[in-house]
C-alpha cells in the first residue's frame, strides 16, 4: 500500500485513491476530424512505461479531486504529485 500525497489533503493511504492510468492523454477537441487510427491511438494505445511514468490518480474517498503523479513503475517510488493543469516537473 503506497502513501500518496494528495496535493489538496496531504499524505494518505493508497486505499483512499483510485488509479486513472497514463496522464496527459488529452481528449481531442475535434474527434470527428481524426482518422480511425488516430482515434484508436487516443482510445486504446498506451505507453505503459517501465520507469518514470506520469499518471492520474483520484482521491476518490477523500476530496474527490483528480491529480497527477510521477511514479517509477519499476519500483513504485513516487517522485512528485501535481495538480491538473499544472506543468509536469521536468526532472
Amino acid at each position: 500500500m503506497f502513501i500518496i500525497t494528495c496535493p489538496f489533503c496531504g499524505e494518505r493511504d493508497q486505499s483512499e485513491f483510485s488509479a486513472g492510468g497514463e496522464a496527459h492523454i488529452v481528449r481531442p477537441k475535434q474527434p470527428t476530424e481524426l482518422s480511425d487510427d488516430e482515434w484508436a491511438d487516443f482510445l486504446f494505445m498506451r505507453k505503459n512505461i517501465k520507469g518514470i511514468q506520469f499518471e492520474r490518480w483520484n482521491h476518490a474517498h477523500g476530496c474527490r479531486k483528480w491529480f497527477n503523479v510521477v511514479r517509477d513503475t519499476s519500483n513504485d517510488k513516487i517522485y512528485a504529485v501535481y495538480k491538473m493543469g499544472e506543468k509536469p516537473p521536468s526532472n
Partner: protein, 1001 residues
C-alpha cells in the same frame, strides 16, 4: 513411568503451574511457559512426524520458526483443529491436543515409509519423467494416486469458532525483534522522543542473551543476561514505548507498511479464550523501521543428517538453559565454529555427557579452552559420515578429513549418542529486509548475505545485520541507531562489553563422505526431503538458476520456506557450477515471514461484514411485508412480495397484473441521483449524453443515454430540468458511483472551463414510484393541491409539491409503460411516504412490486436495462435507439467511436423482440439463437437477454440481441436447448402499447 528429562531449575517457567496435554492420544505434563517442543523433550519424546516424500521419521530440530520437522496437528478433530503447527512455537495450555501428521496408521509405524526404500528410483523431478504411459492410467491411476499423497496436516472441516481483529498503527519508529539489539534500539528511540513500538514474537523479551549465563559474556561488568534483564525492566516504564509480545512480523511491504500478527488466544486453554478473539492483525505504518530479527543457526549437510535427535546446537542450549530440558543423555556436538562450544559448556555444567566433533583443525577461542579444561573430548578435523537409529539417533560414525576438506581418510570411529547437536554457523534473517525491496550483498569471510541497499527508511541491526559477537552487536547497534535516529547521546554511550571472539572460520557446504554421493542421503530440506544429490542432479540436467533448482527439487518450498535449506542449496550450486556465491543471488523471500492464518488476514470482514449492505429508507417496510430481496451491487432491493405460499412466478404474475390493471408501487430509492447546477449545465449534458438538452423546457424530464468513449452504452436514466441552470440526473442503481466519478473526471480534467457543480443526492431522497391506471387517483388523494391532468402535468414533466408540509418532487415518468409518478422526498420521510401511498392506494388495491416485476413490465414495453440487455458491446444504434443519437451535436462522449468501420456495420447484433411459436413456452435468459441447427459449426446469431411470461399479453415474450436483427423481423429462428429446440419469430421489441396510449391515459 518414562524418564524425566527436565534436569535443572529454570526461572523462565512457572513450576507451580503444571499443565497436562495430549500428544498422539497419550497424556503428558509440562509447565506454563513451555512450548510443545520443550514439553515433549522433557518427556523424552523426539519422534514427531514423517517427512513429505520419503516418510522418514523426524524429530524436533530447532526451537523457533525455522523448524522444518516438528510440525503437528493441534486441537483434535473439532472446530479448533489446526494443521502444520510448529511444536517449537506453540505454547502448551491445559487440555492441548497435538498429533503427528503425514503418517498412517501412526508415526512409529507408517506405511508411507515404503517410499524410503524406493527412493533410489524417485529422485527430484521423477514425476516429470514418468506416469505418461499408458495414457489411460494417468487418469485412472497415477494422477489420483499423486493427489492422494498430497499434504501434511488436515484441513479443518468445520467453521472457525474464533474471531480475528484488525488494527491500524502509526508510529515514528517500529523495532522488530526483542533481543538485545532490539531492546537497546527501542530504548534509544523512545528516549529520543520518538513514538516507538517494539514487537517480539515470544511471550517474553530477551532473545538468546536472556539465558546467557556464561562468565565470559559481560556488559558493564555484569553477566550479560543480568544486564539485559535490568534493561527490560527499564524499558517497560518508558512512556513513548509500546511493547507487543507474542506479535510476529508477517510482511514488510513498500512504503514502510508492515503487517504483524498478535497472538491473543493460542496460548490459552479453550476455557480461557473468553472473548473469542484469537489473533489480531496490526497494519503498521512506521516512519522508520529498525529490524532486529536476529539470525538462525545453520545445519551441517552430511549423510543421514535427518534422524530424530539431530538438532541445532544453539537450540539444544536453549532447551537446557531456558527450559531446563536436556535433549539427550549422551550428546555429540558437531560443529564448524566456536558458538557450539557454548552449548557444550552448558551441557557439561549440568553434568550431561558431551563429545565434540569439529571440522576445523583447532581454535584458540576461550570457549574452546574452557571446553577442554572441562574435560570434553574434541575430535578435531573430523566429520560425521553416517548416523544410525530409525526412530531416534543411536550412534554416529565419524572420520578424519583430508587437508583440503574434500575427502575423508583413515578409519571410522563409532560414537554412541542419543543427541547430535549440529552447528554450521549463522544466517542473518534478512527476509523482511528483502521483502521490503532491499538489495543484499554477500560477505565472503563467513559467507552470509547482508542488507545493503534499502528501499525505505529502515536499518537492520544486530545479528540480522551480520554482527554475531556481543560487543559488535551492542556497539554497532548503538552507533547505527544514533545515526538513524539523529540522536546525539544515549544512556549507552559509555557501555563496556567483553566477550569471546569467534576464531577460525571453516565452512564446507556439503561435507565429504567415504561413500559416493549417490549412495548417501545428505538432507538440505528436511520437510520436503531434498538432498544435496538432488541439487546436483538438477544442475546436471541443465537447471542452473537458483530458482530452477529450487522448483525442480522443491528445496525451500516447505512450511519453513527454506529458512534452513536455502543457504546450503546456494552453496552447493555455487561450488558445483564454479560460480561465486555472491553473484548467484538468492531466491526471492516472499511474505509472509511465517505462515499467516487466513482468518487473521480477513479479520472481522466475515459474515455480515463480508461486504457492505446498503438499505433504502423503506427497507424495514419491505422486511415487514415479507419481501424477498435481490442483491444489486451492495444494495438490498425488494425482489418480490410473496403472498401466502406464492412462489416467485406467482408473485410476479400477480404484481404485474395489478400494476397494469389498477396500481403498483416500487421502491426506486436506489437509483443514483446527481444534482447538477451551473450556467453550463445544459452544455455539460449535451456533452455527456447522446441527445440534445439545451431546449429542454424547465420542469420537463428527458431520458438520456450515456456512452463510453468506445461508443458502447454505459448508463441511462431520466434527467429533469428543475430550473434554468439546475438539473437532477438519475443513473442506474449499479452505475451511480461510477457515473459521478466519470462526470467529475471530465469536468476536472477535460472541461475545467465549464461552470458546473455536481453533488450526489442519492441518499438524500427516497423515491416511491406509483404506476398504473389509478396512479393519478392515488396522487390526487395525496396531493389535493396539484392538478393532475395531461395539460398541466403531462408525461415527462415535474412538479414541486408538499405532503403534510414536507417538500416533494414529483416526476411523471414511466419505466413500466403505465401512467406513472415518481415521488421524491427527503429520505427520513421515505418510509412514511410509502405508507401514505399504500393507505391512499388501498381502495385501488395498490400492490407493492419488486425488481422482478419491474423488469417484466419494462420488457413488455421494450425498455432496456443497461447491463442486462447490453453487455458493453452494444451501441445505441444496435439497440435501435437511433432516435436518441443527435446528428446535429458536434461531439459527445463516445460519438467518434460510432463511426469506426466495425461499429458502422449494418449486420451487427441488434436488439429485437422474440415470440415463441408456442406462446406458453418461456425462453431461458442467456439462450443462444441460430438460424440453422444442422450447419456445422453452428453459427450463433445472438442470445436472449430478457424473457418473461407476460400476464398482460398472456404469452411469452423475450428481448434478444440478434445479428442483423433489424432486417430479420418476422423471420423464424431457432433457440436450441440441451434437450429440445424452441422455434421463435423475430418481432418488434415493444410488445405492449406501442402507441403510448397508456402513458397518457
Amino acid at each position: 513411568m518414562s524418564e524425566n528429562f527436565r534436569s535443572t531449575e529454570t526461572k523462565f517457567l512457572d513450576k507451580t503451574n503444571r499443565i497436562s496435554f495430549k500428544y498422539n492420544g497419550k497424556k503428558y505434563y509440562g509447565y506454563k511457559g513451555d512450548t510443545l517442543a520443550s514439553a515433549l523433550l522433557s518427556n523424552g519424546v523426539h519422534l514427531i512426524g514423517r517427512s513429505f516424500k520419503y516418510h522418514r521419521p523426524r524429530g524436533i530440530m530447532t526451537c523457533g520458526s525455522e523448524e522444518p520437522n516438528a510440525i503437528v496437528q493441534i486441537g483434535g478433530n473439532g472446530p479448533f483443529t489446526e494443521p502444520n503447527v510448529r511444536a517449537t512455537e506453540q505454547e502448551i495450555y491445559e487440555g492441548l491436543e497435538a498429533s503427528s501428521q503425514n503418517c498412517w496408521p501412526n508415526v512409529k509405524f507408517d506405511v508411507g515409509g515404503i517410499n524410503n526404500f524406493i527412493s533410489p528410483v524417485i529422485p527430484a523431478g521423477f514425476y516429470y519423467k514418468t506416469f505418461m504411459w499408458p495414457k489411460k492410467l494417468w487418469y485412472s491411476l497415477y494422477e489420483p494416486a499423486i493427489r492422494m499423497s498430497a499434504g501434511l496436516g488436515k484441513s479443518p472441516t468445520q467453521p472457525d469458532p474464533e474471531l480475528y481483529d484488525h488494527n491500524y498503527l502509526h508510529c515514528d519508529v517500529l523495532v522488530v525483534g526483542g533481543g538485545i539489539s532490539g531492546i537497546i534500539a527501542a530504548s534509544i528511540s523512545a528516549d529520543n522522543g520518538n513514538n516507538t513500538v517494539l514487537i517480539d514474537d515470544k511471550n517474553s523479551l530477551g532473545g538468546s542473551t536472556i539465558f546467557q549465563d556464561d562468565e565470559n559474556f559481560k556488559i558493564d561488568d555484569e553477566i550479560s543476561s543480568v544486564w539485559l534483564n535490568n534493561q527490560i525492566k527499564n524499558i517497560k516504564n518508558k512512556k513513548n514505548l509500546i511493547i507487543k509480545h507474542r506479535t510476529s512480523l508477517a510482511a514488510y511491504h513498500s512504503y514502510n507498511y508492515l503487517l504483524a500478527r498478535e497472538n491473543l488466544g493460542d496460548h490459552k486453554s479453550l476455557n480461557e479464550r473468553s472473548n473469542k478473539l484469537r489473533q489480531r492483525l496490526w497494519k503498521i505504518r512506521a516512519k522508520k523501521v529498525i529490524l532486529a530479527t536476529g539470525s538462525i543457526e545453520r545445519p551441517l549437510i552430511f549423510n543421514n543428517n535427518d534422524r530424530p535427535g539431530v538438532m541445532l546446537a544453539n537450540s539444544v542450549k536453549k532447551y537446557i538453559d531456558y527450559f531446563g530440558v536436556r535433549c539427550g543423555n549422551k550428546n555429540v556436538i558437531f560443529t564448524n565454529n566456536d558458538s557450539a562450544y557454548e552449548t557444550a559448556i552448558s551441557l557439561n555444567k549440568k553434568g550431561i555427557n558431551v563429545t565434540i566433533v569439529d571440522i576445523r583443525n583447532y581454535s584458540s577461542s576461550i570457549l574452546v579452552k574452557n571446553a577442554k579444561n572441562a574435560g570434553i573430548k574434541i575430535y578435531w578435523n573430523h566429520t560425521v559420515v553416517d548416523t544410525k537409529g530409525y526412530r531416534r539417533i543411536k550412534s554416529i560414525q565419524i572420520m578424519e578429513m583430508s587437508n583440503d576438506g574434500t575427502n575423508v581418510i583413515g578409519s571410522k570411529i563409532n560414537l554412541v549418542c542419543d543427541n547430535l547437536s549440529i552447528s554450521g554457523g549463522w544466517t542473518p534473517m534478512v527476509h523482511l529486509f528483502t521483502q521490503s525491496g532491499g538489495k543484499l550483498k554477500f560477505r565472503d569471510s563467513d559467507q552470509v548475505f547482508l542488507p545493503n541497499i534499502a528501499m525505505s527508511d529502515q536499518i537492520s541491526i544486530g545479528s540480522c545485520n551480520g554482527n554475531f559477537e556481543l560487543d559488535d552487536i551492542i556497539k554497532n547497534t548503538i552507533s547505527d541507531c544514533k545515526n538513524f535516529l539523529s540522536s546525539s547521546t544515549t544512556d549507552f554511550d559509555l557501555i563496556k562489553v567483553s566477550c569471546p571472539k569467534q576464531k577460525e572460520n571453516k565452512n564446507i557446504w556439503l561435507l565429504p563422505n567415504d561413500k559416493p554421493l549417490g549412495k548417501t542421503k545428505p538432507f538440505l530440506d528436511f520437510q520436503n526431503d531434498s538432498t544435496a544429490k538432488d541439487i546436483k542432479l538438477a544442475m546436471r540436467e541443465g537447471f542452473r538458476s537458483i530458482e530452477h533448482v529450487k522448483r525442480y527439487t522443491t528445496t525451500g518450498m516447505g512450511t519453513d520456506q527454506g529458512k534452513l535449506a536455502n543457504m546450503h542449496a546456494l552453496g552447493i550450486i555455487s561450488e558445483t557450477a564454479g560460480v561465486k556465491m555472491g553473484s548467484l543471488g538468492t531466491t526471492t523471500f516472499r511474505p509472509p515471514y511465517t505462515p499467516l492464518t487466513f482468518g487473521t488476514i480477513v479479520g472481522r470482514n466475515v459474515g455480515t461484514f463480508f461486504d457492505i449492505t446498503r438499505k433504502t429508507p423503506m427497507h424495514a417496510w419491505h422486511e415487514n411485508h415479507k419481501a424477498k430481496f435481490e442483491n444489486v451491487g451492495q444494495w438490498k432491493r425488494a425482489w418480490f412480495y410473496p403472498k401466502g405460499n406464492e412462489n416467485m412466478d406467482q408473485s410476479v404474475q400477480r404484481e404485474s397484473k395489478a400494476a397494469r390493471e389498477s396500481a403498483g408501487i416500487l421502491d426506486a430509492s436506489t437509483l443514483g441521483k446527481i444534482d447538477i447546477k451551473g450556467t453550463d449545465a445544459s452544455e455539460f449534458l449535451n456533452r455527456v449524453y447522446t441527445n440534445a438538452w439545451s431546449k429542454l423546457g424547465i420542469g420537463k424530464c428527458r431520458y438520456g443515454l450515456m456512452l463510453n468513449e468506445d461508443g458502447m452504452v454505459y448508463d441511462d436514466g431520466v434527467t429533469t430540468r428543475l430550473s434554468e441552470n439546475h438539473y437532477l440526473m438519475t443513473t442506474t442503481t449499479g452505475g451511480a458511483a461510477n457515473v459521478l466519478s466519470k462526470l467529475e473526471d471530465y469536468l476536472q480534467t477535460e472541461w475545467p472551463e465549464l461552470d458546473v457543480w455536481l453533488t450526489s443526492v442519492t441518499d438524500h431522497f427516497a423515491t416511491a414510484s406509483v404506476c398504473g391506471p389509478n396512479s393519478k387517483n392515488i396522487l390526487k388523494k395525496l396531493f389535493p393541491n396539484i392538478e393532475f391532468n395531461d395539460e398541466t402535468f403531462p408525461h415527462m414533466s415535474f412538479k414541486n409539491a408538499e405532503l403534510d408540509g414536507i417538500h416533494c418532487r414529483i416526476m411523471r415518468i414511466s419505466f413500466t409503460g403505465e401512467h406513472s409518478y415518481e415521488i421524491n422526498i427527503e429520505s427520513k420521510y421515505g418510509k412514511s411516504l410509502w405508507e401514505k401511498c399504500m393507505d391512499a392506494g388501498k381502495e385501488f388495491n395498490i400492490t407493492p412490486y419488486g425488481t422482478e416485476t419491474m423488469h417484466l413490465l419494462r420488457a413488455e414495453k421494450g425498455f432496456i436495462i443497461v447491463g442486462q440487455d447490453t453487455d458493453g458491446t452494444m451501441t445505441p444504434i444496435d439497440l435501435q435507439m437511433d432516435w436518441i443519437v443527435s446528428k446535429k451535436k458536434y461531439d459527445f462522449i463516445g460519438k467518434r467511436s460510432l463511426y469506426r468501420s466495425d461499429t458502422m456495420r449494418e449486420d451487427r447484433k441488434q436488439l429485437v423482440g422474440l415470440l415463441t411459436d408456442n406462446p406458453s413456452e418461456i425462453l431461458e435468459e442467456g439462450a443462444q439463437i441460430v438460424q440453422d441447427e444442422k450447419k456445422q459449426p453452428i453459427e450463433m446469431l445472438g442470445h436472449v437477454t430478457s424473457s418473461y411470461f407476460s400476464p398482460n399479453l398472456n404469452k411469452s415474450i423475450a428481448l434478444a440481441v440478434v445479428k442483423n436483427g433489424k432486417k430479420l423481423k418476422g423471420q423464424k429462428l431457432l433457440v436450441p436447448m440441451k434437450d429440445k429446440t424452441i422455434k421463435v419469430t423475430v418481432s418488434d421489441f415493444i410488445f405492449f402499447d406501442s402507441k403510448n396510449e397508456r402513458l397518457n391515459a
